[in-house]
């Protein structure tokens, strides 16, 4: 793939706007690391396309919504916490410190494998909001916690910094959802640091169902200790630029990470997933399953690295990224990468980009199923294995509704 020389970078004046409000010495430090298209990890993602319109919109807030009581929930409106409710069961198991962005607990520093300082520094040095969740050792609450980001209004950049600690032999299921109104114009820059101690488990379900004026630059930075497991599933439908960085370090023996994502893209949405899976210790397993359904002028980017350190023998690491393109102007880029320094490992990667299987389509049609219905069945089938095995009914239903909504809208293309 040739470098797109037509891509402009963010101009210095725009960068200054992003950094406005920061103390000078910080701004200068961050400014020097602002990524451009010459930076390998931003090669397919021309930032200015999405950031310029956001910076040019005058800022204002929408109306604060009414919040339904009763659910275990942190409710953020335009990045500000407006509601929190925890059941007594959850209160016994977890500590939540919302908004206390000055609390920055000690976290293991992950090796720097990917150049993304600009946004992570922006989020960690000057967060507007965030939370700290600590799941106490030996607790496994049955109820899950719902974090909702609701956006309505125009802002330039809102930075969020979160910390999640799951202590020894504890577990948590977290559902994080973003939604935005049609008039939203926001760049949400978020860094979430996760630390899973021995035998801990975190299941993270994420869902972005946002409008085109909403852009997200999100980094998950997760350390997984001995026998701990990190499972994350993400469904993205809509938005402007949706950039997801995953940096996962399997730090203890027999740790397990499973990342899944389904992008259902239309309009001009640009969904870019960057994964760095670091196998630091022996006998760890990791899986990456990324799928994109790309229609109209949308773009899907996947760049994933499996990095196996010299000591990480008996590693099992797998990666798969698949896209189907539905429109003439739909695009998909994939860059799978393996870096293996150990000699007794099983690793694989696969990347495909294609169209709907014409043979399967004809087979369905020959049984009397109309072309649009047959296409929709095959699109839903393509998406299905990302969602298999998901236990959270609520999440599953919402994901399926997004697929149905998409196939309903895109019957003829």
């Amino acid at each position: 793939m040739s470098t797109n020389t037509a891509v402009k970078d963010i101009s210095p004046s725009l960068t200054e706007k992003i950094l406005s409000g920061l103390p000078n010495h910080l701004a200068t430090r961050i400014f020097s690391s602002c990524p451009s298209s010459r930076n390998e990890s931003w090669k397919y993602t021309p930032l200015h396309n999405w950031i310029e319109p956001i910076l040019e919109t005058p800022t204002h807030d929408g109306l604060i919504p009414q919040v339904k009581e009763g659910q275990n929930m942190l409710y953020f409106f335009n990045g500000k916490l407006i509601h929190i409710h925890l059941s007594s069961e959850l209160e016994n198991c977890i500590e939540v410190h919302p908004g206390q962005t000055d609390i920055q607990p000690d976290f293991p520093l992950l090796p720097e494998k990917d150049n993304n300082h600009f946004f992570t520094e922006l989020a960690s040095l000057a967060p507007h909001a965030g939370y700290l969740i600590r799941v106490k050792a030996e607790t496994r609450p049955a109820a899950n916690l719902h974090i909702l980001y609701d956006w309505d209004g125009a802002h330039h950049v809102l930075n969020t910094l979160n910390h999640i600690v799951v202590e020894k032999n504890a577990s948590l299921q977290l559902l994080v959802e973003s939604k935005s109104s049609a008039t939203t114009s926001v760049l949400h820059n978020q860094l979430t640091r996760i630390w899973l101690h021995e035998d801990a488990s975190l299941t993270l379900y994420r869902m972005h169902n946002t409008s085109s004026g909403f852009s997200l630059i999100d980094e998950l930075s997760c350390t997984v200790e001995y026998r701990a497991r990190f499972h994350a599933c993400q469904v993205t439908a809509g938005g402007g630029l949706i950039r997801n960085n995953y940096k996962v370090c399997l730090n203890g023996e027999s740790a397990d990470a499973n990342l899944r994502a389904l992008n259902i893209l239309s309009g001009n949405t640009h969904a870019d997933s960057h994964v760095t899976m670091i196998h630091q210790s022996p006998s760890c397993t990791s899986n990456q399953t990324f799928k994109s359904i790309v229609s109209q002028e949308a773009t899907a980017v996947f760049s994933g690295t499996i990095h196996v350190e010299r000591d990480a023998q008996k590693t099992n690491a797998f990666q798969s990224s698949r896209s189907i393109l539905l429109g003439d102007k739909s695009r998909s880029y994939a860059k799978p990468r393996l870096e293996i320094y150990a000699d007794d490992v099983k690793c694989s990667h696969g990347a495909t980009t294609g169209q709907i299987n014409q043979e399967a389509l004809f087979y369905l049609q020959s049984r009397g199923i109309s072309l649009p219905t047959a296409r929709n069945m095959l699109i839903a089938a393509f998406a299905s294995d990302v969602l298999t095995g998901i236990e959270n009914e609520d999440y599953l239903q919402k994901a399926q509704a997004l697929i149905e909504n998409f196939t309903g809208v895109h019957e003829i293309e």
């Binding site: 399967a360 004809f362 087979y363 049609q365 049984r367 219905t373 089938a381 294995d385």
Partner: protein, 253 residues
């Protein structure tokens, strides 16, 4: 019931069918045999409406409608069914969802009311028994993980579900062991009635021991060059195609 008149079809500019004529009456079974590359599978594909094939001349009448004017799904609605030589595996589409959608769309096309869940399920059970397909279909994807024999039995099961007027079996016997062959053939024989007809494309006489044809046609170089009764199949089994090829070459001189 089915009338094919002077059918010419080509793929990538190469003419495969070169003026094929065939007429089938209700209740009849016609076998089509012929050497490799004679156009047998092309005929099946053209009848079902596969896009890659271009029909350059001719007509295919099912009762009073020219099938060539219809899309593949409309042809199914009109009552055409093709049992595939290589049934496609479709991961992620469950057999039940597939069949339910197909049956309801075909019923809708034929102006019939939709089946309620209970009648649909009992229909599935009944038709599954017909071909001894004892797979739990509810949580299986279409043809995925099916053995060769199961795939072919699944084709006959689908045929039973969709109740076609014209069924085309494209080398349904290929890759089948004797038991599976018998089961498939029994299924077909039970579905045979005075309201439908069958076109059985095969390489081997063996299948015709079980599904007894009223006529046997030899397809060669895109045309039907010889027609006889079931004894023709036995003769071909014994003597091969060379004598027919010779006859054709001789008559064209």
């Amino acid at each position: 019931m089915l009338r094919i008149k002077n059918l010419h079809a080509s793929i990538n500019g190469k003419e495969i069918l070169k003026g094929l004529d065939l007429e089938i009456k209700p209740g009849e079974v016609h076998a089509i045999m012929g050497p490799n590359g004679s156009g047998k599978s092309t005929l099946a594909s053209v009848l079902a409406g596969r896009e890659e094939y271009e029909v350059t001349e001719g007509e295919v009448w099912l009762e009073h409608k020219n099938l060539l004017d219809f899309s593949p799904e409309q042809r199914a609605g009109e009552g055409l069914f093709l049992a595939f030589q290589y049934p496609v595996e479709i991961p992620g589409v469950s057999m039940m969802n597939f069949m339910k959608t197909a049956v309801q769309e075909v019923r809708n096309y034929r102006g019939l009311p939709p089946l309620d869940a209970k009648s649909f399920l009992s229909m599935v059970k009944e038709k599954q028994a017909l071909v001894e397909l004892d797979k739990k279909l509810a949580n299986r994807s279409v043809n995925e993980g099916f053995s060769g024999g199961e795939k072919k039995r699944n084709e006959i099961f689908q045929m039973a579900m969709l109740e076609p007027r014209v069924a085309v079996l494209d080398e349904t016997d290929s890759g089948l062991d004797i038991d599976a062959l018998r089961i498939v053939a029994q299924g077909v024989n039970k579905l045979k009635s005075n309201d439908n007809c069958f076109v059985v494309i095969t390489h081997y006489q063996r299948l015709l021991d079980y599904i007894v044809p009223d006529f046997v046609h030899v397809l060669y170089k895109g045309k039907i060059v010889k027609t006889g009764d079931k004894s023709l199949a036995l003769e071909l089994e014994e003597k091969g195609y060379d004598w027919i090829k010779e006859q054709v070459e001789h008559s064209s001189l």
